[in-house]
Symmetry: C2
Subunit: 310 residues, 2 copies
Amino acid sequence: MSRSAPLHRALALAIAALLVSPSALAKDHQDATPSTKSILAASSPSEWRALEPDNTLYMMLPHHHRVIIELTPEWAPKHVANIKTLVDEHYFDGTSVYRVQDNFVAQWGDPYADDPKKAKSMGSARTSLPPEYTRVLNSSLDVTPLPDGDVYAPRVGFSHGLPMAWDPATNKAWLVQCYGMVGVARGVDPTSGNGNTLYVPIGEAPRQIDHQLAVVGRVVRGMQWLSTLPRGPEPLGVYEDASRRTPIASVRLASQVPASDRVKLEVLRTDSKTFKRLVEAKRNRHGPFYKDPAGHIGICHVPLPVREVH
Amino acid sequence: MSRSAPLHRALALAIAALLVSPSALAKDHQDATPSTKSILAASSPSEWRALEPDNTLYMMLPHHHRVIIELTPEWAPKHVANIKTLVDEHYFDGTSVYRVQDNFVAQWGDPYADDPKKAKSMGSARTSLPPEYTRVLNSSLDVTPLPDGDVYAPRVGFSHGLPMAWDPATNKAWLVQCYGMVGVARGVDPTSGNGNTLYVPIGEAPRQIDHQLAVVGRVVRGMQWLSTLPRGPEPLGVYEDASRRTPIASVRLASQVPASDRVKLEVLRTDSKTFKRLVEAKRNRHGPFYKDPAGHIGICHVPLPVREVH
């Protein structure tokens, strides 16, 4: 490492050397696993998919922090439609992130959703929906299988950019509750989920809730504005003091904000050759740092690249 | 739910109803899985193990936030001994948490550790150590196996309160890099890890670094003071601006602080019947919320209970 380099670069390189940055190290070694950066740099434009403005949510938190969520109507169409109705009617404006449980979830929406006296009106949205925890695995669902097995599901893979699992015996498929996936909270009654409260895993993927809740999408940018929020008291992480909640200024579809306020994001297609190369590189990391590559990868460990285009 | 209950209780119950708190719900149902609380309440005193003051670190962050780490000499004895030497000589006082990468790790110690011009002296500690990434699985290691398989390792289980894995073919065992485990950062040279920089996973367990680094213990209290720190810039999360680092006021062994400043913590023994009951309850959650229990559990999903005694 050059000691005459500017500090921030020297520091970045120092840290790269100190821990787990094969991407920074591998470039000097012909037989090392290619880095994410080099794999993505070799991709073609058609391997990326632009987010649809009608299926992209912008959630505005304090300090102009923006969380961007891609909605996936193909997995939970009624839930996604209901969330869009709530967004259309500005339901989320003035609600909050009211629960943050360490190594589990951040949860937002109406903190009083379950209290008939204090709950915010859901306007023309539905207050009850049929469960959409699983869907039928059929030909309309492109699947890129992951070969490494899974503790929780018979089969795992990716579809349309998202981690999913299925059971060949029942032909049911579901989205996996990985870090960053967005789900619909509900009560004991399976029809009580309606989108007025949403959650995102912020730690180890809570696989125990797989196919027990409707999953509606994924945070594609701004996870850090949720993952760094102060934890509420144990065990549930619900702030007892309302002043600790993080206010939500607004939630809008990208199609509802002026073009100048939009950010153009693309996600790597999971049916692309580049994604396949990326998965292989992450399954078999070898190079100067990794002496002993795993040869396997977990469904929630596979990166799902997002890029901004200008 | 009682609508006349005080707000914080009403809110906690509302949220319990809204998401994944079988413990709060299960008590009304005879055939439901017992809650963690009820399982632990039925434990006997001998099923808990007090932390040893000589193997317990107190790391003080701003606002008197205290991170408590249990060191495990049986897995990486030379690394743990070196860290204790550094602590004895107050090496960490005035260092910082200088890297926080979302969904990966928080890392602390000397930000300039890799820069010969600026690195802090390590005093009488060693600057180079032999790798202690794995150890031999022998009779001195009590093992409680977990039966559900694993994507990364041939076998997984628990030993002396920690998640571990092993390969029957080689007789090697290693600690698993779950959320909250503490490891020793290193450079490309496997002998370059010395304890002057440490890290803890703050998201999905980074299993790809299993048996590639020395693991020296686990955060048993205060993970939230590390997991909520602001993320540094991508891709590595190293703060470019030194003012963003979180200063470390001191790191001491519990045995080095006045008795009045100590907190008496106990961890549930993983070779106890109560731990076995807890694992079974988490493998097979059923009750009013969980319609479709997993029947399996991942090694990093099993809770490792810690309690304070007075």
